[in-house]
């Protein structure tokens, strides 16, 4: 970890103005978060990291099939945003969804068992890595068609407006998805109807093998809502504190009934697009540099230590996370395959 090499968002007060186009380098310190809050964020990010590493391992062993998209590197985004929510708020995302589920409080066991296609999985083995849901935790999936969740998330926000319940919907999508036509249709709908939706672009620089530069003529995605008057910010998505700060501004704006908000998270995925991606479109050095200089978990660990946090306290978190993940992996391997009868359930709701 190189001191001071981290980038962060420019902090602004009051109403959002135009987004900063260049990121400045903040000091390594607590920015509005207490040591205890930081330790919680560290815990939540580490859980996602270790969970995903284990998932990669199980995939290699043939226990997980099909596509498996890991979230390693992007942990600060969901963890920072989740800190801004209250019960009743909703979250929706793409197929790169394991981190989002864990952040909303869904159980590691149920998520891992869905990856292995077992009865104990959130969808009883019928959805797999890309398709899990939890109404209880406000998690609405888990969608495999690039961009589709953006319109659906706008619809979740519509129901919030309709019920006037003060809830907001976090709608996550990638830099590649941000080019789909329905994304722009959603911007217009949300702005027109003043829907409480936060559009969160997880710009990890690539959509599969295509860099963001090669896929969009729009260079600052936080400004994509400008024609409809949607405010936007670019945020250092590798810095959980910057994410949380921007998230609070966005959530407050939405809850006040002002309509949608765009957050472009500058982030990075360390692994390939899915497990079978040879990743020839970027250099090993590029990945290594991100890992060494901008790792969201290492950054927080360092701030904790510099702030005087007892190292054994951090170690306790490390151990706890390790135990949770090992237990989830064990559960995912011992939970039985779904009963054959499951083939024919859940196709339609039986009318009463």
């Amino acid at each position: 970890m190189v001191q001071g090499a981290k980038a962060g968002t420019t902090k602004r007060s009051g109403r959002p103005g135009p987004a900063p186009s260049s990121l400045k380098t903040p000091p390594l310190k607590n920015e509005g978060l207490t040591q205890e809050q930081l330790l919680q964020a560290y815990n939540d990010m580490l859980l996602i990291r270790r969970f995903e590493e284990k998932a990669g391992q199980l995939y290699g062993m043939g226990l997980i099939g099909g596509f498996c998209h890991l979230y390693i590197g992007q942990e600060a985004v969901v963890v920072g945003m989740q800190m801004c929510l209250k019960p009743g708020d909703q979250v929706i995302t793409s197929y790169r969804d394991h981190g989002h589920m864990l952040a909303t409080g869904m159980e590691s066991r149920g998520v891992m068992a869905e990856l292995t296609g077992r009865e104990g999985g959130y969808s009883r083995g019928k959805g797999g890595s890309m398709h899990m849901f939890s109404r209880e935790k406000g998690f609405y999936g888990g969608h495999g068609i690039v961009g589709a969740q953006v319109s659906i998330g706008t619809g979740l926000a519509f129901s919030n407006m309709y019920r006037n319940d003060g809830s907001v919907c976090l709608t996550y999508y990638g830099d590649g998805a941000a080019n789909q036509g329905q994304v722009f249709e959603s911007y217009n709908l949300a702005a027109l109807m003043k829907l409480p939706v936060i559009f969160i672009i997880e710009n990890n620089k690539y959509g599969m093998g295509t860099s963001a530069e090669r896929a969009s003529a729009s260079k600052d995605r936080s400004k994509d809502g400008t024609p409809w008057g949607i405010p936007g910010e670019q945020v250092d998505g590798m810095d959980v504190q910057a994410v949380k700060a921007a998230g609070e501004r966005a959530v407050a704006y939405c809850r006040e009934g002002n309509g949608p908000y765009i957050l472009e998270m500058k982030t990075y995925r360390y692994r390939g697009h899915s497990m079978s991606d040879p990743a020839k479109y970027r250099t090993r050095e590029e990945v290594q540099k991100m890992r060494e200089q901008h790792d969201p978990i290492e950054t927080i660990r360092k701030i904790l230590l510099e702030g005087g946090m007892d190292e054994t306290k951090i170690k306790t978190v490390d151990d706890k996370v390790k135990t949770i993940v090992a237990d989830a992996a064990e559960f995912a391997q011992t939970s039985p395959e779904p009963d054959e009868k499951e083939l024919w359930t859940d196709i339609l709701v039986e009318a009463r």
Binding site: G65, G117, M130, G147, Q180, R214, S276
Partner: protein, 471 residues
């Protein structure tokens, strides 16, 4: 405690690979995330990362070794995992063997298709030549052949047509720099440059409409959908713009365009990524719908599709991409649109199939032969227009019909084939036709459920027996 490094699976269908290079040697220390080796599959070269930290005490598989099975030990960390070394059933490994077995089964099924493929192709050609009777003219003999994968045959077809006609161009997601998400467009960017091999953003509705517009003004686009599941984003342009404009313009605005990509079930990718769209597109007047099985089908039909002045939906299959078949070497080799191929002659029952299910049908025919039932297998090749004549002539001879498709039976291709037979040869039927099809459910992810949802050789055998009253 040490650990054993196992050969990882890097894609849903991978069962083995080549260990092409070690980046670490015995004695080196590695940390989680370090790249330790490179392995090669038929699609790509991939890096293997360490998941544990420790010292590599032993390399068990030398670099350059081919056919290294997934989950076999390739190296030892810190002396290796004692449980594993002792051959004891280590928990994850035994589970992996089970799951690996399932993967192997998929591969084996694919292999079955392949094995039959080679034989079927050879036999098909031969028996067609000796066939007598009015059913079907023997297919043109294109002379010497070479062995090619379906993937290569598709690439060659595009390259040949692009060389011959500079209005032909390819566009889609990852087709250029990445060489195709499934490596079908390998080498095309190098040969034809970025003007004719065009990477698009993930905007199916937009780029499909754009391609339709280009076709209306005389260019000949080939639109690759990464898979046909994503053509749903663009289906409005395929149907409302491409298929109908010639009619609406009183014949002024044709649309010479090909929509191609993998269609149908892939392995373990769940409901949104595993579906057959044949019957969706076959429903629409103004479209042609082709579905190749062998590499020769792929090459001959894709060339015909590109030259055709109409919109053509060209349904490939991911699992077939890596399979090899004999393909005529003749530079002019092309197949007609609208003609089915009798892959196997028989007198007792007609089995009609398309795409990957042709391999399944041929396999079933072999099994049926062992039981004294002589099945005729028809490879549709073209779904719209449908070669009703070949099907009807066959049923007039066998008096029995079984259809096979991966998609859902309801309003499916089998339903249409059976209805054509009922309309044209009702009096010749000795039994009600039977449809073998994917189960009427969205595709489940779980391995055991997925297996139950798709047609198998045994389903086809059982159906053939039931229509011949042998069961």
């Amino acid at each position: 405690m040490g650990a054993t490094i196992l050969m990882p699976a890097l894609s849903p269908t991978m069962t083995e690979g080549k260990l092409s290079r070690w980046l670490k040697k015995e004695g080196d220390t590695v940390a989680a995330g370090d790249v330790i080796a490179e392995i090669e599959t038929d699609k790509a070269t991939m890096e293997v990362e360490a998941v544990d930290e420790g010292q590599i005490t032993k390399i068990l598989v030398a670099e350059g070794t081919e056919g290294v099975a997934v989950n076999s030990a390739i190296a030892e960390l810190d002396g290796g995992d004692s449980k594993n070394a002792a051959g004891g059933p280590q928990q994850p490994v035994s589970n992996a063997t089970k799951a690996g077995g399932e993967t192997a089964e998929v591969a084996k099924q694919a292999e079955d298709h392949g094995a039959v493929a080679a034989k079927g192709a050879a036999k098909g050609e031969g028996s067609a030549a000796q066939a007598k009777g009015p059913e079907q003219e023997p297919e043109k003999d294109w002379g010497p052949t070479k062995t090619q994968t379906v993937r290569e045959a598709l690439r060659d077809a595009m390259a040949l047509e692009m060389r011959a006609d500079d209005t032909v161009f390819l566009l889609g997601e990852e087709v250029a720099q990445y060489q195709g998400a499934y490596k079908v467009s390998q080498g095309l960017l190098d040969e034809f440059g970025p003007k004719r091999v065009v990477d698009t953003p993930i905007t199916e509705h937009g780029f499909t409409g754009m391609a339709v517009g280009a076709a209306m003004s005389g260019l000949r686009p080939i639109v690759e959908f990464m898979t046909f599941n994503f053509s749903m984003q663009a289906i409005d342009h395929i149907i409302n713009s491409a298929a109908k404009t010639l009619y609406m313009s009183g014949g002024q605005l044709g649309c010479p365009i090909v929509f191609r990509g993998p269609n149908g079930a892939a392995a373990r990718v769940a409901a949104q990524h595993s579906q057959c769209y044949a019957s969706w597109y076959a429903h629409v007047p103004g479209l042609r719908v082709l579905a190749p099985w062998s590499a020769a089908d792929a090459k001959g039909l894709l060339r015909a599709a590109i030259r055709d002045p109409n919109p053509v939906v060209f349904l490939e299959n991911e699992i077939l991409y890596g399979q090899s078949f004999e393909v005529p070497e003749d530079d002019d080799f092309i197949l007609p649109i609208g003609k089915a191929k009798i892959e196997r002659r028989g007198k007792d029952v007609t089995i009609v199939a398309f795409s990957i299910e042709v391999g399944l049908a041929l396999k079933a025919a072999e099994k049926l032969a062992e039981e004294g039932i002589d099945a005729e297998v028809i490879n549709l090749r073209s779904i719209r227009p449908l070669d009703t004549e070949t099907i009807v002539n066959s049923v007039k001879k066998t008096n029995r019909l079984v259809t096979v498709e991966e998609g859902w039976a309801f309003s499916g291709i089998g339903a249409e084939v059976a209805m054509q037979v009922i309309e044209h040869a009702f009096d010749h039927l000795d039994a009600p036709p039977v449809r073998v099809a994917g189960l009427d459910v969205p595709m489940p992810y779980a391995a055991n459920l997925e297996k139950l949802a798709l047609p198998t050789v045994d389903h086809v055998v059982d159906a053939a027996k039931s229509v011949t009253y042998k069961k």
